[in-house]
């Protein structure tokens, strides 16, 4: 009968957050010893694992390599158990290849690829549990993994979604809010320079509201960058304590 009330009159969302509030973000770096860099990140109930290999020589045909910079190779996948309904997800379906492409574009904008000509950087991300904002969780996890691998970047890449409900911009949508029928916008930002690495929006939105929505997404990304920065610093502290002994 009545759909979900995404935003109550008192200004609370379904899960009790207020409009500009993010979900709880938790992350760990260096979760795998084998890979060059890895990270695990939770954004609320969305959980992502990112692994980075490289930079290394281009595998396969030489023709793929670029003479002036590194190639970034991304692969996105979702675990069969990541959604409410178990579903086999073959590699290379439309959705995941699109997502892979988006990730590739995002990181080509952020990684200093010109430092590694004729080489390749592999980024693998897997969604372990999906609860909205898969793309942003992937980007944030991959950023941490790249940092862990020691690959030079212009800045952190922070991504966040924002939606528009009842004339209010909501930051960091959960699955129920994403599927609630409103507009949803995904933004990947280089927070210090304020440059946008990727911006994606599928639904219709009136032009007048776009700036408000962008503003909300930017603020959310900046908030995220603080959290990520904290995670990196804490990780470094732990590592340096270990190595100094």
């Amino acid at each position: 009968m009545a759909g979900l009330e995404l935003l109550s009159d008192q200004g609370y969302r379904l899960d009790g957050r207020k409009a500009p509030e993010l979900r709880k973000v938790q992350a760990r770096m260096s979760v795998f010893a084998q890979a060059d860099g890895s990270a695990y990140l939770e954004q609320g109930n969305t959980k992502a694992l990112a692994v980075v290999y490289g930079p290394h020589e281009t595998r396969g045909s030489r023709s793929k390599s670029l003479h002036d910079r590194a190639v970034i190779n991304c692969q996105y996948s979702m675990a069969t158990f990541s959604t409410a309904e178990r579903k086999r997800r073959p590699h290379g379906d439309r959705k995941s290849s699109e997502m892979s492409l988006h990730l590739k574009q995002t990181f080509e904008a952020a990684v200093l690829t010109e430092l590694y000509p004729r080489s390749q950087i592999d980024i693998y991300v897997k969604i372990l549990q999906a609860d909205g904002g898969n793309y942003s969780a992937c980007v944030n996890a991959a950023t941490l993994a790249l940092v862990d691998a020691g690959i030079p970047m212009r800045d952190y890449v922070c991504a966040c979604t924002a939606g528009f409900v009842e004339d209010t911009a909501l930051a960091d949508l959960c699955h129920a809010e994403e599927s609630g029928g409103g507009t949803s916008l995904a933004l990947a930002l280089l927070p210090r320079s304020g440059n946008i690495a990727l911006l994606q929006m599928d639904a219709r939105l009136h032009q007048d509201h776009l700036s408000a929505l962008m503003e909300a997404a930017m603020t959310a990304c900046k908030g995220l960058s603080k959290v990520l920065d904290g995670v990196v610093r804490q990780h470094l502290e732990e590592v340096s304590v270990l190595t100094s002994e």
Binding site: D9, Q10, G16, N45, H206
Partner: protein
């Protein structure tokens, strides 16, 4: 900020899904009370001295109602006496799931600042959130959540006030819940107990809705109706075709009969007839029901009997006699209709009903029957202690339920509207029954009005065209205060004429999306009743800031044409402007100025120019096939002190009427073209579909009876043949024909250009049309103004304006409001006509036969614009010999044959035998038919009304 998770399992389409949702718990949800220093609430809602005088609670207290109290006793919660109520989120969510209407009402109450209702988001509060325990049902969990929240409030307030007098009182209607709450040390009352204890307003007790356990006491134990099936079985039944779903429409004349209009598209049967008490099975008019079709041999024809439920006793007796009566009808007729019975109710569509109390014969009884004004609604049993005071009053009653062992539905008293027959009361009733929103504007709406004193700002002066130097004037009916159009005309240097139509710029004051806009959109139109106007926008705008009164500077939206002397448009120009009207004239004044050759001032010249052009325009329009139709319109002369109608006058049309009309039409058409060119998908237009040819049958027959021919192939042909259809020595004949032609027409409607492809306006013979010229009294015009403003870059757009689905939804609301406003207007005229005849006693008047029916003739009295029916059949007397001929159509009564348009003489009086449905009664005087017509009564005002023939 803490965080926890709840795990919810849900099933969808058979499969079991595990859905995980986050649930954040917070520390920053405030209690919302003024006394509390701990909570950092900026604008606390709940007052410190929260006093509702009550025998039970002598201390100040806040109320916490539980879900069932909100659902069932919303009438009470809405009362102004009840204030400082805490609505818990748990309650609000449950209400939202269970009833959309109650949810809307409780939300309105929460938004009302005067009521001090506070919503406490207890589910996200760290200390009041509880998890569902093993084996606990969802309802029990919610009840516990309510108790926990109430407990929290009790402790919290005690701490905040150092055990001061302020307390929280939990209201519940569930005994078990009450006991548990008492164990926790809460102050808890049953809703009935609490309301009865209130000192302030004993009348509230009557508004208590009956809860299921109370109802058992009222009714007998005999089962009168078959049980309704549960919803799950209805749904499977509908799926496999056993049942049909549809909207139930009760028959106005026969309370034991109704029709269900089936929803499904392309169904074989789209109407199912229901007959008999058992088969109707407690369906009330407008309910959505599931019906089961009978096999063909049990199908019956609709009975033509008029049956009214006037059994005076409040007894659950069965009606056997009607069953037999229906059967006799069924046997003979061949027009059998699909017949069925109601097996279940899918959705009740009850609303509060207006009507009157029929007092029980037992003097001390508290249970009484209530007779709604709408005959399609069954009588309702209510419980009240103030029956004696309510007799003769118009009251409102809401239905609470209809148990299967009760002859009538049970309800409760909501509101007293006033003495029946009073002008104010009757107006209130007709507004309520026609669903016309007429409450005073809320504070939220008024807050969006411009601040007084208002003047035109510098920025406006910069962007608007300054037309203050032009000789603009307005022409309106006398006494008009909401002037939304003004005109001017002047000669240009090149010999052409410049004509301007200036419309009040309402969209400047009403900005999209705010409360004022929403209120106007929902009202849709201003409703004009006799001697009363229900405004669409607050009076400050309608009668002052937007009204283009003379000699004040006003903002306008102007449509300016350059025309040559043949009234051909050379250039059209739209602009927002500032004007200063030089004169507000009435039609008569304007006409006098035009006719008076001695007057040669600028305004008069301008009027003459306009008049000249209007005549050309009109001629051209009529050539194209525009119809001039007629309907008898009357105006009441209202006594300025008693507001009683003292005289009736048919509206007189002058040249100036048609002058103003002509330019309004021109502006509307020009604007319609412009906004359609600019926004082909979302322009709001108005169309008037051509009627199907069969609609004209009666008109053609009527004209044939006088040896005249009416061609209805096109609007043009119709217009021409109407013009030629005149009879010498019978000047009123043509008007009669035009009245008849009007009845053949379809209703003109608003629509969104993206949703339709037939734009034609039949009556005006225009390929495109809209409403632009009356934004003060029509919301459609405001939308058109906004579209036009965007089109000329004078204003910015907003999302809803460009959304054709939203626009189309708006159109259907506007169409509905317009229709209802028209009905309300007619009802108001009818009521005033009755008042008029009540004061007059009996009147003999000449009239014409407008229609001939099987057992009656319908007569129009031109002098009063009044229509009435003369019946030839009578319940008590043997009816005269009647022969009806459909070809004529003629009706032969004994020896006399009645044709359409025959002149007759009737006597008119007021039939007040049924105080709820007073009506005008007509009886035939001439031609004299023995046993049918009545002798000419003496026309004396104070005469007691004789029992007339019917």
């Amino acid at each position: 900020m803490l965080k926890s998770k709840t795990f919810v399992k849900k099933t969808r389409s058979g499969g079991v899904l595990k859905i995980v949702r986050e649930h954040y718990l917070r520390d920053d949800i405030w209690c919302g009370s003024e006394v509390c220093k701990e909570c950092k609430d900026e604008a606390p809602v709940l007052q410190e001295d929260a006093c509702i005088e009550s025998n039970l609670c002598s201390y100040p207290h806040y109320l916490i109602p539980d879900t069932n109290v909100v659902l069932h006793q919303i009438d009470i919660l809405e009362d102004n006496l009840i204030r400082n109520v805490i609505i818990l989120q748990t309650v609000l969510q449950e209400v939202r799931h269970r009833s959309a209407t109650v949810y809307k009402r409780i939300k309105d109450a929460i938004h009302d600042k005067e009521k001090h209702f506070y919503t406490f988001t207890n589910e996200h509060h760290r200390e009041t959130f509880i998890e569902r325990e093993q084996g606990e049902s969802a309802n029990d969990r919610n009840d516990r959540a309510i108790r926990v929240a109430a407990k929290w409030y009790t402790d919290h307030l005690a701490k905040a006030t150092d055990n001061g007098p302020l307390k929280v009182v939990l209201l519940t209607s569930d005994r078990a819940n009450k006991e548990k709450a008492e164990q926790c040390g809460l102050i808890v009352y049953r809703c009935e107990e609490y309301i009865k204890s209130l000192i302030g307003n004993p009348e509230l007790v009557d508004r208590l809705a009956l809860t299921p356990d109370d109802q058992n006491e009222i009714t007998g134990s005999k089962l009168l109706f078959p049980e309704h099936l549960p919803l799950s079985r209805i749904q499977t039944g509908i799926k496999n075709g056993m049942f049909l779903q549809g909207t139930f429409h009760a028959n106005r004349d026969n309370y034991l009969e109704g029709t269900v209009f089936i929803h499904r598209e392309g169904a074989v049967t789209n109407e199912v007839l229901l007959q008999g008490f058992q088969n109707l099975n407690r369906a009330v008019h407008q309910d959505v029901v599931a019906v089961e079709l009978f096999p063909k041999e049990r199908w019956v024809a609709p009975s033509s009997v008029v049956l009214q439920d006037d059994n005076p006793d409040d007894e659950d007796a069965e009606e056997d006699e009607t069953e037999t009566e229906n059967k006799s009808v069924a046997a003979e007729s061949s027009a059998l209709k699909p017949t069925g019975r109601v097996v279940g109710i899918i959705k009740r569509n009850w609303r509060p009903y207006c009507g009157m109390l029929s007092q029980s014969q037992i003097k001390e009884a508290t249970r009484h029957l209530f007779t709604p004004a709408d005959r399609r609604i069954p009588r309702i049993r209510i419980e009240t202690r103030q029956a004696a005071t309510l007799v003769g009053q118009r009251i409102m009653v809401a239905i609470d339920g209809w148990p299967k062992n009760s002859r009538y539905p049970n309800g409760h008293f909501v509101k007293n509207l006033g003495t029946a027959g009073d002008k104010e009361t009757e107006t209130e009733v007709l507004l309520l029954e026609h669903d016309v929103p007429h409450q005073p504007f809320s504070q939220a709406v008024l807050s969006f009005l411009p601040k007084m004193p208002w003047s035109i700002s510098e920025e406006e002066l910069k962007v608007r065209a300054d037309l203050r130097h032009l000789f603009v004037c307005s022409v309106d009916p006398p006494g008009c205060t909401d002037i939304d159009d003004a005109l001017h005309c002047r000669e240009l240097e090149n010999g052409n004429l410049e004509v301007g139509v200036h419309i009040a710029d309402v969209s400047h004051f009403i900005r999209p999306g705010n409360a004022l806009d929403q209120e106007a959109a929902s009202r849709g139109t201003t409703v004009y009743l006799c001697g009363k106007r229900i405004d669409m926008v607050p009076e400050l705008l309608s009668s002052n800031l937007c009204s283009l009164r003379s000699n004040v500077e006003r903002l306008a939206f102007s449509c300016i044409w350059e025309m040559n002397n043949n009234a051909e448009i050379i250039k059209t120009h739209f602009t927002k402007s500032i004007i200063n009207s030089k004169a507000s004239l009435t039609y008569a004044e304007a006409q006098m100025r035009i006719d008076d050759t001695t007057m040669n001032d600028d305004i008069t010249k301008s009027l003459r120019g306009l008049n000249k052009l209007a005549k050309i325009l009109k001629g051209r329009r009529i050539d194209k096939g525009a119809l001039t139709l007629s309907s008898p319109e009357v105006r009441f002369h209202i006594d300025s002190e008693t507001h009683d109608p003292i005289d009736l006058q048919t509206k007189e049309l002058m040249e100036t009427n048609s002058m103003v009309e002509e330019f309004m039409l021109l502006a509307n058409i020009s604007v319609a073209q412009k906004i359609y060119d600019e926004f082909s998908e979302c322009a709001l237009l108005r169309k008037h579909p051509a009627p199907p040819p069969s609609n004209y049958d009666i008109l053609i027959k009527a004209a044939n009876s006088r040896d005249l021919e009416i061609h209805t192939d096109s609007a043009k042909a119709l217009a021409d043949s109407l013009n030629n259809a005149t009879i010498e020595r019978f000047p009123y004949f043509n008007t009669l024909l035009r009245i008849l032609a009007t009845r053949c027409m379809m209703q003109a409607v608003y629509f969104c250009s993206g949703m339709d492809n037939d734009f034609h306006h039949y009556g005006l013979a225009s390929p495109i049309y809209t409403h632009f010229t009356s934004p003060i009294r029509r919301y459609s015009d405001i939308i058109v103004h906004r579209l036009l403003a965007v089109a000329i870059n004078a204003d910015s757009t907003y999302p809803d304006l460009m959304d054709k689905h939203k626009q189309s939804a708006l159109c259907s609301n506007l169409n509905y409001r317009h229709k209802m406003a028209q009905y309300a207007q007619r009802a108001s005229v009818a009521f005033h006509t009755q008042l008029f005849f009540k004061n007059r006693g009996i009147i003999n008047e000449e009239g014409f036969i407008l229609f001939v029916r099987k057992n009656a003739i319908i007569i129009l009295i031109p002098k009063f614009g009044l229509e009435g029916t003369v019946f030839f059949e009578n319940k008590d007397k043997p009816s005269p010999h009647l022969t009806f001929d459909t070809e004529g159509p003629t009706l032969k009564v004994e020896e006399h044959i009645f044709h359409m348009f025959d002149k007759v003489k009737v006597t008119i009086s007021l039939d007040a035998s049924n105080i709820q449905h007073q009506r005008i009664r007509m009886a035939l005087i001439e031609p004299v038919i023995p046993g049918v017509s009545v002798p000419v009564p003496e026309s004396e005002p104070e005469a007691k009304k004789p029992k007339l023939d019917r």
